[in-house]
Amino acid sequence: MDTYDADGVTLERVEEYVWEIPQEGEMNAPARVLASEELLDQIADDKTLQQLKNSTQLPGVQKYAICMPDGHQGYGFPVGGVAGIDAEDGCISPGAVGFDINCGVRMMTTNLTYEDVQGHEEELVESLFANIPSGLGGGGVVESGVETVEEILDRGVEWALDEGYAVEDDLAHCEDEGRRPDADPDAVSQKSKDRGKNQIGSLGSGNHFLEVQRVTDVFREGVADSYGLSEDQIVVLIHCGSRGLGHQVCTEYTREVEQAHPELLEQLPDKELAAAPAGSQLAEEYYGAMCAAINYAWVNRQLIMHRTRKVFERVFDRSWEEMEMDLLYDVAHNIAKKEAHEVDGEERELYVHRKGATRAFPAGREEVPSAYRDVGQPVIIPGSMGAGSYVLRGGESSMETTFGSTAHGAGRTMSRTQAKDEFWGEDIQDDLREQKVYVKAQSGATVAEEAPGVYKDVDEVVRVSDELGIGDTVARTFPVCNIKG
């Protein structure tokens, strides 16, 4: 098939798994979808393609706007969207980063095997659920004043290190070593800080979760060795973001940008794409506030990891150091970052917007922590409760094909309203228990909304990423215990 017609949008096949919407009309660049035909059928089933096309109207989009294999309809920019936008002549769009700034994933390895955990699952899931704040109004590991929030916004995981919630090694294995130097806490409003005060170290709800997993498959032995992964090993995956603080930052800056730059907004087909021109005061302020929210999110995941270590200590009656509970890596999948990329043979500074997409830098890039520089950056792809998750490494083709990015998860196919009609939380929990997966949630409705059946086939998403060389499969994991809001 050389073209694909989807409800008013025609895509041309450029090569296997690469489809292009040619530049036309108001578009400033073409758009590309990276998908197999099976995934493209799902992507074309909602407004994803129109939203992707709309995003090319942002000024300064370089090469093409891209939809990852797990893409689906979002608000403004689709989820799974990547856009490299010129940081001198282009713009930055809060809505194209998303409300949950630095929503992301971290994985912690252990030296426990599945056998060590069997028989303790019930105790483990109950204890994790009791000790890790989740849901709406569930508080945080730390509840503090605004001064503490400001320190976290400024210093990220360095704050956690000073307060005893982290060790040096945790910083070395986090993107940017757990601190965005461009953070500007003064650009974060009082209202945002007020929302952030009592949520530091909390999962929230929706698709966020903490999962104890076992490694079921290793695909690239050498890389897995470098990541400290082996078959049957127990690992912990934590998926959450910057909580109400980040949501408020995006909410407010979307409005400020709308009011300050109406001329730019008039060129855009969707108000949710509202953008501040590069070089404007508001672009700088938003970037500083977003970077501060990134720091908050890293601390959020760090505190949850710290609490998880404590829970494991109690359940297994050993110190976390003895269980070698070390951070493998922490990646953001809702973010905009100033990065240098080659465009038309020249190096340019871009605001790379990744909304539901993960940075996937290959071996050799200086941004990759030294521990992984020879093999490539770890990429963590959380899957559904019934399908498991993947660890990839940044692929050799990612810089050329996707501004150094790949997918971020399985990607939804079914709405939350339909999911609640089709599934019962308790039935899902019973089905999963038969597969030896222990699930505990604040709300049965959340379990129904996040049922394995609402997601795309994560295996296919990861296969396409691997085939394209943007993210290579390293290992696969399957859930043992899952807690959510």
Binding site: Y75, V79, H247, R255, K271, S415, R416, S443
Partner: protein, 136 residues
């Protein structure tokens, strides 16, 4: 006034109507509460807040964003929402009140934010309709 939760791949949408703008806006906020919680108890005290904006769409965005803000800082789910919209010197003003059900008393999930995506506010012969997508 009434609302319906509508399908959206990842998030949730609310379609609401009312005889007046006041009723339609209040119904969207009730839809927001319903998106977070299926069974709402009768307890909780009423509280008030106000927002301003330069046009109707911005006013609805500011109002719903403030419902979410109030939820987090007060630790309550705003339900039984009442709204009065008036012209102000440089745009519109909205005075709101809600009954705040303590979050500890409900089995509720988080809606992260209001979005402008696909937002519609329209008048027809029966009154006003509004459509809003929320980020979950």
């Amino acid at each position: 006034m009434s609302f319906e939760l509508r399908e959206h791949t990842a998030d949730v949408a609310v379609a609401a109507d009312g005889k007046t703008v006041d009723e339609a806006f209040g119904a969207v906020a009730d839809g927001l509460a319903a998106a977070m919680c299926e069974a709402i108890p009768d307890d909780g005290d009423r509280f008030s807040f106000a927002v301003q904006a330069e046009n109707r769409e911005a006013l609805l965005y500011e109002y719903l964003a403030d419902c979410i803000y109030q939820r987090d800082v007060r630790g309550v789910l705003p339900v039984a929402n009442r709204v009065t919209v008036d012209r102000a010197d440089d745009g519109w003003r909205l005075d709101a009140s809600a009954r705040g059900v303590p979050l500890g008393a409900v089995d509720a999930r988080e809606v992260k934010a209001v979005t402008y995506s696909e937002m519609r506010i329209e008048q027809d012969s029966d009154g006003w309709n509004a459509y809003v997508v929320f980020d979950v």
